[in-house]
């Protein structure tokens, strides 16, 4: 079953079209990176699919159903900067938010839920931080709290918006670990990703996006110099860096 199929998605802010007839198919049990330059509509793609911003046209099917029918199978990790980390809650409270749907309307968070939340925190290496107020965590730790919140949801499809953005090495490792585990459990992960260097290392598939979908498929087929040039246009410095890196890592099929 296809965890996420986006068909001719158009999104516009005011009069400006941000996404243009985007067709994206995410394959089950794999990790997919959505890559593209700033303003390419990477986050917008996720947000529009999740109904957080209106689509001008198009549809997004989750497990071949509309989102409303598949909510419990989908978990979302927003960008870290999207919330105020001075909020008076602890790391555990934030993770417990992933269980709110399971708990249901108007019922309080009970002990069993708190234990689940702590287990999810332990999965991202933050077992000792569960009672910390969230502003006392480092940026990377905050990112991991968000990840733990999504893990607590026990979803089949994880949509993550820039989980690797400006995090420390320990967090990068922890997230990588989580991605690997989710994949081994047969779950599907989609990440908006900005770092071309690590795409081939972390992900199976890649979607190259610049307002429209330039290419998508397995990393070793699609993540090529030609496609990157199409995606990033004339931004040669950036491109050359990426290409240099590709050749260093010896990604198969990328530089011929």
């Amino acid at each position: 079953m296809i965890p996420l199929a986006i068909r001719s998605l158009n999104v516009a802010y005011h009069r400006k079209l941000v996404l243009w007839d985007a067709d994206v198919t995410i394959r089950a049990g794999r990790t997919t990176a959505i890559v593209g330059p700033n303003g390419a509509g990477k986050s917008t793609l996720l947000k529009a699919a999740l109904g957080l911003i209106p689509m001008a046209s198009g549809e997004a099917l989750f497990f071949e159903k509309p989102l409303g029918a598949a909510r419990s199978r989908v978990a979302y990790v927003p960008q870290r900067e999207s919330v105020d980390w001075d909020f008076p809650v602890s790391a555990r409270d934030v993770v417990a938010m992933g269980l709110y749907r399971k708990i249901g309307w108007c019922l309080p968070v009970r002990r069993a839920h708190r234990e689940l939340a702590e287990a999810a925190l332990a999965d991202v290496g933050l077992a000792d931080f569960s009672r910390r107020q969230i502003s006392q965590l480092s940026g990377g730790q905050q990112q991991r709290v968000f990840l733990a919140r999504a893990l607590a949801q026990q979803a089949d499809l994880y949509l993550m918006d820039e989980p690797f953005a400006s995090v420390d090495a320990a967090t990068e490792q922890a997230i990588q670990e989580v991605l690997r585990r989710l994949k081994n459990e047969g779950r599907t992960v989609v990440c908006v990703h900005h770092d071309l260097d690590t795409v081939s290392e972390y992900f199976d598939d890649v979607v190259l996006l610049n307002m429209r979908v330039v290419a998508q498929g397995p990393v070793n087929h699609v993540f090529s110099r030609e496609n990157l040039r199409k995606t990033y246009g004339g931004r040669l410095t950036l491109l050359d860096e990426a290409v240099a890196d590709l050749s260093r890592r010896g990604v198969p099929g990328s530089l011929q």
Partner: protein, 431 residues
């Protein structure tokens, strides 16, 4: 005055009891719902809301007058206030949504336009023949003392509604205020929740018009939760403290105006809230200024002590540790060096040797060696290996080399093994 105080405290007057109950119920409800308003970053929207109730009050009065009814029944006027308050709030949200005007401008525009319109209407009402409009300005400045038993019951019921909804939807409101995007992606009806939250704010604002007036009602929505934030990092506690502060300020304001008959209760209520706010800001158990100063002070002290030990240790490596040599090692503020030396001698870290030179005691030597070792390892690390494992550096340690934790130091030691020279990096004193 003592007589008045006694009379108030014994709650002999029926009227005092009524007003006190009404005001306290309002204060508590405002503190509670204000907590979410503040966390949703809509404090100023509360102000705009308060101001935009005025045209509603005046219009309701006019309609009642035109229909020949007694225009001043409270629920009727408050219904008008609620409608125009909600209209004001919706206008702000519309301007924000459909134009590129920034938030603050949208709020200022709506606030002043609605208030201006209200003032016009009130003036018109006052010119009506036999209009008996004298009560309308109570809504602007508040007149707590004019509260009747029925009003107090009304406020009490509203407060119970607010409390029940906040308790029932506590988790949902928390999610809405913290992370709207996640809530939306999880299928929570964000618009509906937002609507309920803002409707409760309108309800409390309208109820508070009589107690503190529309100019000041925002104070009780915002000040108690802002004060409560200094006391706790937990939302549940913050909400309870905000409720208590709101209730307490309202009660104290009513008491003050009962004792000093000339003082306006509404303004006194706000001043009481402000007093509790300043108290919280200074004394707050979680983020109070005193607490912060104390933490900073003890950190500076520890730092100074460590500076001195290090300086003494380094002086002793090449000669006697005299005051002049220590001054040469690093700059000290006037008096700091002497004070720190006598403090360290008292703490048993240093002993005065012959000729004005200082000696390290046994404990002092161990401590100083640990510090110097940490410091030099850190220096080497920054010089040569800063790219190796930035993740393993504690955030604070970026700024203060003195707070490296022992585990990290062991790690550094392994990393820096190659460059380690006995003379340069002292041995770990514990090994």
């Amino acid at each position: 005055m003592t007589a008045e105080l006694l009379r108030f405290l014994s709650l002999q007057d029926y009227n005092t009891r009524v007003v006190l109950a009404g005001a306290c119920a309002f204060g508590a409800a405002a503190g509670l719902i204000g907590t979410f308003l503040l966390l949703r970053k809509r404090a100023l929207l509360g102000d705009t809301l308060g101001h935009s109730t005025l045209p509603g009050v005046a219009a309701a009065f006019l309609i009642a007058y035109a229909l020949g009814a007694a225009g001043k029944s409270l629920p009727w006027l408050l219904a008008g206030a609620a409608i125009s308050g909600a209209a004001g709030m919706v206008s702000v949200l519309m301007i924000r949504r459909f134009s590129r005007i920034k938030d603050d401008a949208a709020l200022a525009i709506v606030l002043s336009v609605f208030f201006g319109f209200g003032v016009t209407l009130v003036t018109a009402v006052q010119q009506l023949p036999g209009g008996n409009a004298a009560g309308l300005d109570h809504f602007i400045y508040g007149k707590t003392a004019s509260m009747t038993a029925a009003d107090a019951w009304f406020i009490l019921c509203m407060s119970v509604v607010v409390a029940a909804l906040c308790a029932g939807l506590f988790k949902e409101f928390t999610l809405l205020c913290f992370d709207e995007g996640f809530a939306g992606a999880g299928g929570w009806p964000v618009r509906l929740l937002d609507g309920i939250l803002m409707a409760l704010v309108v309800l409390v604002t309208v109820v508070g018009l009589q107690a503190v007036g529309l100019l000041l009602v925002v104070a009780l929505l915002v000040i108690p939760p802002a004060a409560a934030r200094f006391w706790s990092d937990r939302l549940e506690v913050m909400a309870i403290v905000a409720t208590a502060i709101g209730c307490l300020s309202a009660g104290a304001g009513v008491a003050a105006s009962a004792i000093f008959a000339r003082l306006p209760a509404g303004a006194i209520i706000v001043l009481c809230a402000a007093f509790l706010f300043s108290l919280s800001m200074v004394l707050g158990a979680q983020r109070g200024i005193l607490l912060r100063c104390w933490h900073e002070r003890s950190a500076t002290r520890r730092l100074r002590c460590e500076h001195l030990l290090r300086a003494v240790y380094e002086c002793l490596e090449s000669g006697p540790a005299t005051a002049a040599a220590l001054r040469h090692k690093r700059p000290w503020k006037p008096g700091d060096l002497e004070r720190e030396i006598s403090r360290s001698i008292n703490a048993g870290l240093l002993t005065p040797g012959g000729g004005g030179a200082l000696q390290l005691t046994g404990t002092g030597r161990l401590e100083a060696r640990r510090l110097v070792r940490n410091h030099r390892l850190w220096e080497l690390y920054l010089l040569h290996h800063a790219d190796v494992a930035p993740a393993r550096v504690d955030r604070d340690a970026d700024l203060i080399e003195h707070v490296l934790d022992p585990g990290l130091v062991d790690g550094l030691e392994a990393i820096l093994d190659n460059e380690r020279r006995a003379a340069f990096v002292p041995e770990d004193p514990e090994k």
